[in-house]
């Protein structure tokens, strides 16, 4: 149990880590997804039809992206309540660049994403500068960003977007797979690589886990916090652009009043997926699975003719149950000394 053992290369897995996987969040989510897929497949007619699978994929692509956007800030031990407001603002900028300035659409998309990142910079910079919790800062900027956006757009949508946009939203591979889902999965893989195998990602995690220790080890904690917020803004913009592709128009109210419709999916993904709210630990796979489960549940419940409001209630309940279950799981593991 001494030094000999630490000679084994990193990542060497024994039986122990296999048991750990079966006790992990990700495994639990996969089980839940299978269970609910079977239930809905048997009870809701048309749940497994190509068309429903297509919409399910498209919607989960957007929800997962929203969850990832929140996750990147949770890494720092913070929150981003302004995801919705930032995302919609970024999409509106993209629409304006196309319709107002005649910028070619690929450039306009980049412009929109950059704008999202810029809004994230504002959040991050203020968090670092004031030392206040990001909860307060993003609560304020949520209203500011959204209000300014409504004022500048006069609450009007950009509807004359190039056909490429809605064509992308409607495109199907093999009759049921939306390319939007592929975009999301590509982003998720990139994020997983970022956190696992790059300097920046590791520094983000270290800064989130223990700012004092990270600083004394030579990490610019303030920069990392700002960078996490910028990443969050960019991803929120991407989620909104995917929504634009789905709707065929950039609409100021597409994320609800103040962008609040996004909050529940934004938290559900990371929290179900086991990303620590205290920061410093992240599970990209968990967030993807969590957000997918949520999308599947709402879709299935709607097909079972459960009213839309009940679906919201159900999702809220689910957030609570997930958190409580996780707490129970943790204390069980701690008592049995399995983790």
């Amino acid at each position: 149990m001494t030094i000999q053992d630490i000679n084994s290369p990193p990542g060497a897995t024994g039986g122990l880590s296999r048991t750990r996987f079966f006790l992990s969040n990700e495994f639990g989510l996969i089980l839940l997804i299978i269970v609910f897929a079977v239930i809905f497949g048997l009870s809701a007619r048309g749940f497994l039809s190509p068309f429903n699978l297509f919409t399910l994929g498209r919607n989960s692509a957007i929800n997962i992206m929203i969850g990832l956007s929140m996750m990147t800030v949770i890494v720092t031990g913070g929150l981003n309540l302004a995801v919705g407001a930032m995302g919609v603002s970024a999409a509106m900028v993209c629409g304006w660049l196309i319709e107002g300035l005649g910028v070619p659409w690929p450039l306009a998309i980049l412009g929109g994403l950059a704008f999202g990142a810029a809004l994230g910079f504002i959040n991050g910079w203020m968090v670092v500068r004031t030392g206040l919790h990001s909860f307060i800062i993003t609560l304020a900027t949520m209203s500011i960003f959204f209000g300014a956006m409504i004022f500048l757009t006069r609450a009007e949508a950009f509807r004359d977007l190039p056909a490429a946009f809605s064509a992308f939203g409607k495109m199907k591979f093999a009759n049921y797979l939306s390319p939007l889902l592929l975009v999301t999965l590509a982003v998720a893989v990139a994020l997983a690589w970022l956190y696992r195998a790059t300097l920046t990602g590791r520094e983000m995690l270290a800064a989130g886990a223990s700012p004092a220790a990270a600083e004394l080890s030579g990490i610019r904690v303030d920069r990392m916090v700002i960078l996490c917020h910028m990443l969050s803004g960019g991803l929120a913009g991407l989620a909104a652009l995917m929504l634009v592709a789905r709707n065929g128009a950039a609409i100021p109210s597409m994320a609800g009043q103040l962008g609040q419709d996004w909050l529940l999916p934004a938290f559900l993904g990371p929290v179900l997926g086991g990303t620590l709210l205290q920061g410093g630990k992240v599970s990209v796979l968990g967030t993807v699975l969590g957000a997918f489960l949520v999308t599947m549940l709402s879709s299935g419940l709607l097909m079972l003719q459960v009213g839309a409001f009940w679906v919201q209630t159900f999702l809220g309940l689910m957030l609570l149950v997930a958190v409580l279950l996780d707490k129970a799981r943790r204390s069980y593991l701690a008592r049995r000394n399995l983790a």
């Binding site: 149990m1 001494t2 030094i3 053992d5 630490i6 000679n7 084994s8 290369p9 990193p10 990542g11 060497a12 122990l16 880590s17 195998a197 790059t198 300097l199 920046t200 590791r202 520094e203 995690l205 270290a206 886990a209 223990s210 004092a212 220790a213 990270a214 600083e215 004394l216 080890s217 030579g218 990490i219 610019r220 620590l276 410093g280 630990k281 008592r335 000394n337 399995l338 983790a339």
Partner: protein, 519 residues
């Protein structure tokens, strides 16, 4: 002694963690009116045994007997209620709460809705602080205290419970000898009053001074069980702990006068209150910075690293005047490093793995194209140091929080040894490290210096200072009061150092009278 009945007994205690069998059937018997030493190498299972006895861990097997009857503790609170108090190795204070609130945490208010009487609370805390000669206002938030003072507050908290059995897990690890003496006076008084004490320490001189019985653990088993200290010498203790004799490499004369200066401070003042500090460390030199707790040594170190502002004077690195804006710049641009005295909150990221912790300072150096960082490279860079310090862990993927205190400390040190900086500040490096590893650590630091690293050692442990330093600079109350060239002769040097401290105190008229202790 022999007619006396044991107050507490642990029989056949086993405790398993995933991948680790921490205790393999350990026995210990505690007598009233006795100070019982619990010894063993890092990771031998001392803290685990203490946590089992105080209701933190449920044992996997074995029985606990209190006054001869079998008991079980459902929680730490339960153990306290049954008269068992403890000072854990790791700090367990609430940083934002005041000293008094922390001390009375278990008995804050009479009822759930009854308001807390703060002035009574503060008054109640005062005698315990005074007993330890701890001159702080009970209303001070704990977060403002230094590590050593937090340790004393923790001890005060345990004393205030007035328990029958009191277990102290390395209480003296970050105390200087005068504070330790003060603590010992109290412990002796408690012992004479019939309390049963357990004392864990890696400083064998302390153990021999104060303990009358001893239990030694080795790899989770008894190497000796609850026997009298009569006739047991230091040599026997070491033999039982590590299975062979101690091989401490002693101080040796090192001459670096011809070498260029790596770090120089001239007339430096800081935003924390240092005034006119002059200090010079040459290439390959080991300079000691000694002082009592609160002298401003750690603070000076952090100011050098750019964590706090230098408000006047000149800081020179390799002869060039520099302004260091932040810690990252100190490390990456100027090649300075700082091993923190506070491993738990500043040295380590407890929830991350051993490998993730050990590599942080060299991540930037090891990153390849696009900032890609491969575990293999980090692994290769840090492993030699982890091995030389004999870090005991089931794997490099183990979460650091799950390691024993001493092994955590080794990682906090190893990560800087691997960092390859040209100037290294080492702040209390051997807190909690066992004697065997301490000798290795000293040897490693000397090797590092021989290879050209300039080292500034801050330590409250005078023998350590004298074993390591070429030159010892003494600091008192944020001023440098003088310098002693080390000759390796303990009595001369310690005398000279204490002289420098006391002269300074008499000058400023701030001699602290030894108060009567009233426990």
């Amino acid at each position: 002694m022999s007619e006396q009945k044991a107050i507490f007994e642990a029989r056949g205690i086993e405790k398993a963690f995933p991948g680790v069998m921490a205790l393999k059937g350990v026995n210990m018997t505690l007598m009233p009116g006795s100070i019982h030493a619990l010894l063993g190498e890092n990771g031998a299972g001392k803290s685990t045994l203490i946590k089992v006895i105080t209701g933190v861990h449920l044992p996997s097997a074995g029985t606990l007997l209190l006054d001869g009857t079998e008991t079980q503790f459902s929680s730490p609170r339960d153990a306290i209620a049954k008269g068992i108090g403890v000072v854990h190795q790791e700090r367990n204070l609430f940083p934002r709460f005041s000293v008094a609130e922390n001390i009375h945490l278990e008995q804050l208010a009479a009822g759930y809705l009854k308001p807390i009487n703060y002035s009574a609370l503060n008054e109640g805390a005062r005698p315990w602080l005074e007993a330890l000669d701890l001159d702080i206002d009970p209303a001070t938030p704990v977060s403002e205290l230094s590590v050593a003072r937090m340790q004393l507050v923790e001890i005060a908290k345990a004393l205030s419970l007035q328990s029958r059995v009191l277990l102290l897990d390395e209480p003296t690890a970050s105390l200087t000898s005068s504070e330790t003496e003060r603590l010992f006076t109290i412990l002796r008084r408690l012992r004479d009053g019939g309390t049963s004490l357990v004392f864990v320490s890696h400083k064998l001189e302390e153990v021999q001074e104060i303990c009358d019985r001893v239990t030694v653990l080795r790899d989770g088993a008894n190497a000796c069980e609850s026997r009298s200290m009569d006739g047991i010498g230091r040599h026997d203790l070491v033999q039982m702990m590590i299975g062979r004799a101690e091989g401490a490499a002693a101080w040796r004369h090192r001459d670096t006068t011809g070498q260029p200066e790596v770090l120089g401070l001239s007339d430096v003042s800081t935003s924390l209150g240092h005034k006119g500090v002059n200090l010079s460390v040459r290439k390959g030199e080991i300079v000691g910075l000694y002082g009592l707790v609160g002298a401003g040594r750690t603070e000076l170190a952090k100011a050098i690293m750019g964590k706090f502002k230098v408000t006047a004077g000149k800081v020179q690195v390799n002869g060039k005047a520099v302004t260091i804006p932040n810690v990252a710049s100190a490390i990456h641009d100027h090649g300075l490093g700082y091993i923190s005295e506070d491993r738990k909150s500043e040295g380590l990221i407890l929830q991350h793995s051993v490998l993730a912790n050990a590599g942080v300072p060299i991540w930037r150096k090891l990153a390849g194209r696009f900032g890609a960082l491969r575990d293999k490279r980090i692994h290769d860079a840090v492993l030699p140091y982890l091995q030389k310090l004999e870090v005991k862990t089931p794997s490099l993927n183990q979460t650091v929080a799950n390691l024993s205190g001493g092994n955590q400390q080794k990682i906090s040190v190893a990560k800087w040894l691997a960092a390859g900086v040209q100037f290294l500040i080492v702040d209390e490096p051997s807190v909690g490290i066992d004697i065997k590893t301490k000798a290795y650590l000293h040897e490693l630091l000397r090797e590092l210096a021989d290879a050209g690293t300039a080292i500034l050692v801050i330590s409250s442990d005078m023998p350590e200072m004298i074993a390591l330093a070429d030159r010892i600079v003494v600091m008192d109350d944020y001023h440098i009061t003088g310098e002693v060239t080390n000759s390796g002769v303990y009595d001369d040097i310690s005398h000279a150092i204490m002289g420098l401290i006391h002269d300074a105190e008499e000058d400023s008229g701030a001699v602290v009278p030894l108060k009567e202790i009233s426990v």
